[in-house]
């Protein structure tokens, strides 16, 4: 399995490949991933120009460990195959498929990625895929999309197009996104892949943004798409385990390891009933604490 399948992806920052000033140094803001956009952000007559910028940025800019995902043009255009060629040849870490509605959409991209990796001598399986779901049909097919390819590391909700398809709009309360969010996180977890939330476009409402992130964090999402560097710190803060969470997770991991050796299945930690079902969650908290730079323990 590609070791990057489960990497930390709390923040995915969209960057317009048409703008050299945006893609030259986004690593200074330390997002977990950047989303180099060839699709909606790029003007129709500049689609070709964005591709050359993308290729050279991927080849020549040291993004210092930040994951480089490319959003290609839609499968209903005549541009997406060349987008994949430029991305894979440049060494992109992953391709984001827009407007994914079926497993077949993922398989079409997977086949082209596979062929292009062979064309450019890229290690087979190096380029991962993620699927953006932007319609009611896509949401209803979330499970088959999640299971469509071993390269697919996750799915992402795209709220703007999705709410248009639902014949409503983004209200700021999140009520119109509830169903899609719930269905998608359940499908992603059932399939063992990651799940990412949509962008929050009102940059003047940081309090609303914080509440939105708290909601999706509680729902189980792995991270959020973002459109501005100042949103990064808020997301990372909310996704950083508290000292209390970390201490409890350490106790759970140690106690389960100890009790398992003694043949004990169920016991209590700090008055809470604990069994093996808590193990993975506790380990994940430790890993997240390590990734967030706040873990000082020895596990």
């Amino acid at each position: 399995m590609n070791p990057n399948m489960k990497r930390l992806r709390r923040t995915m920052m969209f960057l317009n490949c048409q703008k050299p000033g945006l893609i030259k140094d986004p690593y200074i803001y330390k997002p977990d991933s950047i989303m180099l956009d060839l699709e909606d952000a790029v003007a129709e007559k500049e689609k070709d120009a964005a591709r050359y910028s993308l290729y050279h940025a991927l080849q020549e800019i040291d993004y210092r460990g930040v994951e480089r995902v490319v959003r290609i043009n839609g499968l209903d255009t005549d541009m997406w195959q060349e987008d994949v060629r430029a991305s894979v040849a440049g060494g992109a870490d992953a391709i984001r498929i827009p407007k994914t509605e079926t497993a077949q959409d993922v398989k079409r991209v997977e086949a082209v990625v596979e062929a292009v990796e062979a064309e450019f001598g890229v290690v087979p399986g190096r380029t991962l895929i993620m699927a953006a779901i932007e319609s009611a049909k896509g949401v209803m097919h979330a499970m088959e999309i999640c299971e469509a390819s071993p390269r697919l590391f996750g799915i992402a909700l795209s709220g703007g197009d999705y709410t248009k398809d639902l014949q409503t709009n983004i209200s700021g309360t999140g009520v119109e996104l509830m169903g899609a969010r719930q269905l998608m996180i359940i499908a992603a977890r059932a399939a063992g892949v990651q799940c990412f939330d949509t962008v929050y476009t009102n940059l003047n409402d940081m309090e609303g943004f914080r509440k939105d992130v708290e909601t999706i964090h509680q729902m189980g999402f792995d991270g959020k798409s973002i459109i501005n560097p100042r949103q990064i710190a808020v997301v990372h803060e909310i996704y950083t385990p508290t000292p209390k969470d970390i201490i409890f997770a350490e106790k759970v991991v140690r106690e389960i390891d100890d009790k398992k050796a003694k043949g004990i299945g169920v016991f209590t930690v700090d008055g809470k009933m604990i069994d093996i079902a808590f193990y993975d969650g506790a380990k994940r908290t430790i890993e997240l604490a390590k990734a967030s730079g706040v873990y000082k323990g020895e596990l």
Binding site: K19, P20, G21, K24, D48, A49, R51, Y52, S53, Y55, H56, A57, Q59, E60, I61, Q81, E82, R85, A86, A89, G90, F120
Partner: protein
């Protein structure tokens, strides 16, 4: 590649450059305008000429108005102007004529 018409790529925004490519008079003629011409003029010229050489462009007039573009942006804009000029948008030679 043979340059038979005028093509343009890029913008005058910060960190970008505007490239104008026209048919030449038997060789490559480069005109450069840049706020950092005294520090980086030589390097910018080298990047432009190397890129044209990779693309096998031997006869063209090229004008660059630089606004502080990185080398990777200059290459991308020159390539864009060349491929727009010859009308090629698919099956591009990534890693071949288009390279670091």
């Amino acid at each position: 590649m043979v340059i038979e018409k005028t093509s343009v790529a890029g913008t005058l925004e910060s960190s970008d450059c505007m490239v104008t490519l026209e048919p030449g008079n038997g060789s490559v003629e480069l005109e450069l305008e840049s706020p950092v011409i005294h520090q980086f003029g030589h390097q910018i010229r080298k990047v432009v000429l190397d890129t044209l050489e990779h693309l096998d462009v031997k006869d063209a007039k090229i004008r660059i108005v630089d606004k502080g573009a990185l080398d990777c942006t200059i290459k991308a804009r020159v390539e864009c102007a060349v491929f727009r000029n010859v009308g090629k948008v698919r099956g591009l030679p990534w890693g071949g004529a288009i390279r670091k």
